[in-house]
Each structure stands twice: as C-alpha cells, then as structure tokens.
C-alpha cells in the first residue's frame, strides 16, 4: 500500500559542507564590535523615536469619509496641517499612513497633567471636523507612559537574566556568556537601526525585541547543544575545529528554520497591515541578526574563553594513561 507519494527532498546545503567559520571569526568579531559601538552611539546621539506608549501624547489615525459607495478620497494633509497646527499644541506631526486617504496625527505630550492630554485630543478632533472617520485613537498620559517605560526596560532585562540563568544551568558559564553577548548584540543592533531610521519605537517594538531574544537564544542553544555533544565525542579535536564542525553540522537546520520564519515574517510585513509593520520589521531584522549572532558571536566566544573539555567523568590521569597506552 502506498501511504504517501514518495518524493525525495532536496538538500539546499550540500552534504559535507564545511565553511571555515572560525577563520572568519576575527573579522566578524571585530566587525560586530564596530557595529555594536555604532549602534550604541546612534542610540546615544540620535535617540529613539519613541511612540506614545513611552513618550506620552496622542496619536490619531483618520480616514477621509467616502462618498456613498465610493472609495475614500485622498486626504488633504496641507489643510490638516493648517487646521491642527494652529491649535498651539506644541509638536504636531501629520503624515500619510499606508494609503493616500489615511492620515496619522501625532501630538506631543501636553504639559498640565493627565486631563491636558484629553483636552488636546478633543481640540484636534474638533479642528479636523466631520470630513474624517476616526480609525484609531491612542492617548497615553504621563503616569502610564512612565510606567510603560519602566516595565519595558524591566521586561528586556528580566528576559536576558532568565536566559542567562537557564543557559548557565543547562550548560557551562562560558556558553552563558556567549549567549548573552549574542543577545546584547541583537538588541543593540536592532535598537540602533530603529535610531538610524527614526522608526517609531513603542510597546510592540519591545515585544518584538523579546521575541528576537527568544528566537536568537533558541538558535544559540541548538548550536551549543551540538558543541557539547561534539565535546564529548571528539575529546582531542582542537577547539576551533570542533566549533567549526558543530556550526557546519547545524548549518542546514539553522538556515532552514530561519528560512521558514523569514517567509512568514515577510508575509506579515507585506500583508499584515500598517499597524504592525514596525513590529514585523523589528522581528524580520532581528531574526536575520539573531541567526548571524549565534554563529559569529556566541560560538567564537567559547574559543576565547575556553571550555571544559572533559564531559565524561573520566579523570585526567586516566585519560593520560589511555593516550599513553594508545601510543
């Protein structure tokens, strides 16, 4: 009985592929360092374009009202600027959002406490008039935005901490340091890109960062698992060779998983709508950078730090005796 059609899969990484990752490690390591420093200084100098979640303020998404049965006409952004700009609400940004009929208005946080934000919202809505429908309104007052900032930072730190503990518990401390370096790299570079392009950084970006952390460490764990297994199998292989072998052995898995994840993320990025575009961008970028970091940062750090070679419970003397007997 033929249960399923019999057709063979294709190896998109040829069998026995052996890329010398470790020889690239110096170049990559220093390149990564340079990128991290660049990202950190971008963050320091340009700062992040925080969304209302963290900065407080008002965000209003509007769409022009369509004539009966027709499509929504393009919005007159210049007119909107005149209407809203004269209200004395400080920094007001008005931009097209996704399509010509949609507009996103951002009003900075108003001085004068919680009620001032609501007053600003009412003023804007009044000024805009009846030509638009409200698609989305987000108003975050000073109390909530400062709480969200705190929880955002705590969440990222707590995740990194939980991951360190877990890896330390499951592996050796050297693996934990490698993983943390890789994670820090991923977070820093993603934040740097958000700073460079001044993309909006809000609560969903933090959620994306946490997912990236989870994904990146997942990758790192798979490589580390293989390194540990090979450490037991090949007791006397030179560490760089062993690391290289482990990375190569897991390479097709790494690329395959990144591949499927990237496929769905691209689908989300292009089809998932304007509201979550930043969120999916952060994740797309993070998956690529996370894959890179587990190969080029986490593993080379093991070589830098050295790692316990003897996992079998055999003592050194016995080993020496065994090798003496063998020779």
């Amino acid at each position: 009985m033929q249960l399923l059609p019999h057709f063979k899969g294709r190896h998109f990484i040829p069998e026995g592929t052996s890329v010398d990752f470790m020889s690239l490690r110096r170049v990559c390591f220093w390149a990564s360092m340079a990128i991290m420093i660049t990202a950190a200084s971008l963050f320091a100098t340009m700062g992040l374009n925080y969304g209302v979640d963290f900065k407080g303020g008002t965000m209003i998404e509007l769409r022009t009202k369509a004539a009966d049965g027709g499509t929504a006409p393009p919005a007159d952004i210049t007119a909107l600027r005149d209407q809203v700009g004269g209200l004395g609400l400080g920094d007001v940004q008005i931009q097209e959002f996704g399509q010509p009929s949609d507009v996103l208005i951002r009003v900075e946080q108003q001085g004068g406490g919680e009620t001032a934000q609501q007053d600003a919202l009412n003023k804007v809505l009044e000024a805009v008039g009846d030509d638009y429908v409200q698609r989305r309104v987000e108003v975050v007052g000073p109390a909530v935005s400062s709480e969200l900032r705190t929880t955002g930072i705590i969440a990222v730190l707590a995740s990194i901490f939980a991951i360190i503990l877990y890896i330390w518990f499951r592996f050796e401390w050297q693996f934990a340091i490698g993983a943390v370096m890789a994670l820090t790299h991923d977070v820093l570079v993603t934040v740097g890109v958000f700073a460079l392009f001044q993309m909006e950084f809000d609560l969903s970006t933090v959620a994306a960062l946490l997912t990236i952390l989870g994904y990146s460490v997942n990758d790192t764990v798979v490589v580390s698992d293989r390194i540990r297994e090979n450490l037991r199998k090949f007791k006397r292989m030179a560490l760089p060779d062993l690391l290289n072998r482990s990375i190569n052995e897991t390479l097709s898995r790494t690329l395959m998983t990144s591949g499927t994840t990237l496929i769905v993320l691209f689908a989300l990025y292009f089809l998932g709508g304007e509201v979550i575009r930043n969120f999916t961008f952060a994740m797309l970028f993070g998956v690529i950078i996370g894959t890179y970091s587990s190969i080029f940062i986490a593993a080379p750090i093991l070589e830098l730090l050295g790692v316990k070679r003897d996992w079998s419970g055999v003592t050194k003397d016995q080993q020496a005796a065994a090798s003496a007997a063998a020779s």
Binding site: F7, T115, R136, Y166, S204, A207, D225, T257, T260, I276
Partner: protein, 536 residues
C-alpha cells in the same frame, strides 16, 4: 521510540479530532454558528478590541480628593465632639494631612483626648481575625497640639470601597441596559479599566462616565408607572434600574436633591435583617423632606440617580428628623455601594482618563483581513518550502503544522483567550517557528543516514536526539513569552498568549503526531521491502 501502543494512537487521534471539533466554529460567522444544533460546539475565539473595534479607557481615581474628604469630615467630627464636651479649643485645622487642634485650657486636655480618642474606630471588614487596624490615630505632641492622623489602612480601605462603588457607577453609565457587553474592571489599587466594543468616537462615552452625578428625590404619580398616552403636566418619565424598560411617572421637580444629603451608610433592618441604607439630610433638606413626607405617608417616592430610578420606596412614617432609611431589593454589597454613591453624589471622587486606545470598526475589519491573508500566504509558502526540502517527510511535517494550527485555535477557543492583531502575528510566527522542531528532527535523521545507519535506526535516533534540543530551545522562547505576558497590556498580551500556546502545541505535534505519522509510514514501507529508502 517508534512503537506506539494502540491506546496511544487512539488518544492522539481523538485529541486531533477534538481539536478540529472545537476549532470549526471559528470558520463561520456568529449567526451561522448560533443556528447549529446544541450538541455542536458554538464557542468562538473572542476578538480583542483592536480587531472588533472598540474603546479601551483606563481611568484613575483622584485619591487626594478622597483623603481631603476624609480629613474634612474628621475635622467636623472633632469639632462636634469637643463642642459636645464643652471643651474650649483653638486652631482646629487640617495640616500635614492630619487634623490638628489645641485645647484652650490645659485642665481640659485629658477630657479632650478621651473625647477625640472615641473618634478612633476599629476598621470593619478586616479579613484577619483580631485585626487592630483603626481609622485614626490620636497623638498629643510635645507642643500641646493634638493630632488626629488618618491611618494608611483607613485610606486604603476608603480607596478600595470607592473604586468598588465607582465601578458600579461607571457600569450604570456606560452600559445602563446591560447589553453593550462592556467590561469594567478594577486595575491596580486606584484604577478602573473600561472596555467597550463598537465605539469609535469616545467623546460621548467619556462625557457620560465623567459627568457629575445627580441624586434627587421625587414624588411619584398615583399611577406609579407610565403606561402610554400623554404625560400629565408637571410630570416626566424615568427608567427603572431594577426593571429595565419599566418607566416610572414622577414629578418633574424634585422634593430634595443630593446636595442636601450629608450622610448615608449601609445597615440592616432590625426585624427582617434585610439590607437597607440609612441617610441623613442637612437642616434645610431635612425640613423640606419632613414637610413632604408628613403629607404623603403611604405613598411612594422615587430616588433618582443619574436620571434613573434606583429605588421607589413607600413613605412609612413622616421623616421629621432629617434622617431616614431606604429599603429595597438590595444585597448587602449593593446597599454598601449605593450608600457610598448616595453620600458622594454617585462618583466617590473624580475619575481621569489616563490612557485611551480606541480602534474604529473599519480598522478592526481591515486588520482581520490583512492578518488572515498574511496567515494564508505565509502558511502556503511555508508548506511549499517544507515539502520541497523534505519531500514525503515534508508532507508529514505539513500535516503536523495543520494539526498544530487546529490545536492552537481550539486551545484559544476553550481557554477563552482573546485574539488580538499581534496575536495573529504570533500565530503566523508560530507556524514559521513550529517547523523548527521538525527541522531539528529531520536534519538529525539525515545526519544519521549519512553516518551509515539504516532507516529505522536513523529515524529512531533522530527523534530521540533532537528531543533534548527541541525542549531546550523552546523553553527559552517560552520564558520570553511569559515575561511579555507579565509586561503586556491587551494586544501584546494576546501576542504572548498565542506564542506560548503555540510553543506547547508545536512541541506536542512534533513529538507525537509527526512521530506517529512517520512510524506509520515506516511500517507501510517495511511491509513492501526490507530496504527502506528514506525520502528526505
């Protein structure tokens, strides 16, 4: 690893069928599902406000206002008790969040202290037996100033009570008929979260929540209810809270208004032990109410809160002292809340909107549409890619993915978790990442085959060895998801929930469903020939 007992096989099959059974209602619209026979599942995933459209308002109560209220009445009580004891005092004032007073003659000080001590009452409602928390501490400072300070416990209790009462008030204002499906919940110590589906312009809603409440006592027409026809001159109709739809016919002008009320407290009827509310008017209110009740014994009057009749008791006797009681169909808790509402004119303190997130219905619908198309396209692309790379085994993995998706949807339906837009993203992402477990297994099988093992050995070791890695790697993602849940407000929480459920189901499908399918395939192949060619 590859042996499955019949019991196990049946359990896995039953579970998959059950998942399908419970996931199916989500494919149809609500009306269709409701027309199904009762034995079919009808529960659907509840959509978050960002998908169905609606308003999310976080209200914060002004606790300073509550404290000032308490201090003001404490000062009044202190004055009254000192006057009653005929003790001369000066400089009675609220300073540094306590009430301070200086006794005129040092001789009177012990008596004054005793009198003021009596204001310090144990807090009721403490859950711990023998709790010693009191509402006020009385201290005499070295400079002869007597300070009455509110305890933190008293303040906390006041805030808790006030939020409880405010929730009731907000509910009555947001959803008077009870069919808007609004959720109004306590959030933290001094906040209320209001979620109302289907609202895109929240201005009217916020006005309704924040308005100053009006309490008034009205005479009721002899017909009691309005039954149609012209409304008699001088009368108006008012809806009943207890029986929605029922209209009372009441005098348009009120006898007394809430402004004249000075106190209201919950109590119990001495004979029947039924909960009731005791209230007291100020002098002018008491006089008006006394005159009116003397002339109307045996007739009902209506108590209106925010324009609705909360109670229409009958005047039992003339209420001359300015104090009276309201009996009605209350639970003790309702009596308590109502008393607080009465005393403070409905809202115990000002509520301020500190966070607002509103999504209009058009955006919600757009989000669902784009989420679904991303899900479909992303899913199909993953299937093609997986089958291309792993051949027949890829097909098995795809079957696993399909079951995985069903399991997630069924789990979310049964757990009653809310699907948000980031939640859909989490679902799509899970589909991409769920393949990882299969990839780990299949890559391992490929390796073992390369090392010269035969099909059975390779598949067996492949599943066994990959297991450790799968668990290790998924646990870390789970940790991140749990932290996100803790961090999250609504939509992000939705993402964390789908991600966590997805982790469990994808591990489950990889190690049971996929393994079962592979072993069934292997059994069929081995029946054909001894040398099995693994198509991977």
């Amino acid at each position: 690893m590859l042996h499955f007992s019949p019991f196990k096989m049946i359990s896995i099959a039953v579970l998959c069928l059950a998942a399908m059974f419970y996931a199916i209602p989500n494919l149809f619209d609500k009306a269709t599902v409701e027309s199904w026979p009762r034995w079919l599942p009808q529960k659907q995933i509840s959509l978050g406000l960002d998908l169905r459209g609606g308003a999310h308002l976080l209200l914060s109560m002004d606790t300073n206002e509550l404290r000032d209220d308490m201090l003001t009445s404490l000062r009044a009580d202190a004055r009254a008790s000192l006057l009653r004891e005929r003790i001369g005092f000066r400089a009675l004032a609220i300073r540094n969040q306590s009430v301070q007073v200086r006794v005129a003659k040092a001789v009177d000080e012990p008596r004054a202290l005793t009198a003021l001590q009596s204001l310090s009452q144990p807090l009721d409602g403490g859950l711990l037996v023998g709790t010693t928390d009191r509402n006020v501490t009385v201290e005499r400072g070295a400079d002869g100033i007597i300070s009455l300070t509110l305890t933190d416990a008293a303040l906390r209790k006041r805030v808790t009570d006030a939020i409880g009462a405010a929730i009731e008030t907000v509910r009555r204002r947001v959803d008077p008929t009870g069919n808007v499906d609004a959720t109004i919940t306590r959030n933290g110590d001094d906040r209320i979260l209001v979620q109302v589906p289907g609202v895109d312009d929240t201005r009217a809603l916020k006005d309704r929540i924040g308005k100053v409440a009006l309490l008034s006592f009205h005479a009721v027409h002899q017909d009691l209810y309005y039954t149609g026809g012209p409304i008699p001159p001088g009368y108006k109709t008012a809806e009943s809270v207890e029986a929605p739809g029922q209209q009372y016919l009441i005098r348009a002008s009120s006898v007394v208004r809430g402004d004249d009320l000075v106190d209201a407290s919950p109590g119990f009827d001495e004979r029947t032990r039924a909960p009731e509310i005791n209230f007291r008017f100020n002098q002018s209110g008491g006089r008006k109410f006394g005159t009116w009740t003397s002339a109307n014994v045996g007739r009902p009057f209506a108590i209106l809160l925010d324009g609705q009749v909360i109670s229409a008791p009958v005047v039992q006797t003339a209420i001359l002292g300015g104090a009276g009681r309201i009996t009605g169909q209350f639970t003790p808790e309702e009596a308590n809340n109502l008393a607080i509402n009465l005393k403070s004119g409905a809202l115990p303190a000002k509520l301020t909107v500190i966070e607002e997130r509103t999504v209009g219905p058009t955006l919600g619908a757009d989000s669902i549409a784009s989420g679904l198309s991303a899900f479909a396209i992303g899913g199909i692309a993953t299937l093609i890619f997986t089958i291309f790379v792993y051949g027949t085994f890829g097909l098995i993995a795809v079957a696993g993915l399909f079951i995985n998706a069903l399991l997630i949807i069924a789990a979310m339906t049964l757990l009653g978790s809310t699907l948000t837009l980031p939640g859909i993203a989490g679902l799509v992402l899970t589909i991409g990442m769920a393949i990882d477990a299969n990839v780990l297994i299949y890559e391992r099988i490929r390796e073992e085959l390369r090392n010269g093992k035969n099909a059975v050995e390779a598949i067996d070791t492949g599943f066994g060895r990959a297991m450790v890695t799968i668990i290790d790697s998924q646990l870390t993602t789970l940790a991140a998801a749990l932290i996100m849940f803790w961090l999250g407000s609504g939509p992000i929480r939705g993402f964390a929930v789908t991600l966590s459920i997805g982790i469990f189901t994808s591990v489950f499908t990889a190690v049971t469903v996929v393994r079962l399918l592979v072993s069934l395939w292997l059994r069929a192949e081995r029946a054909k020939s001894r040398a099995v060619d693994v198509p991977i």
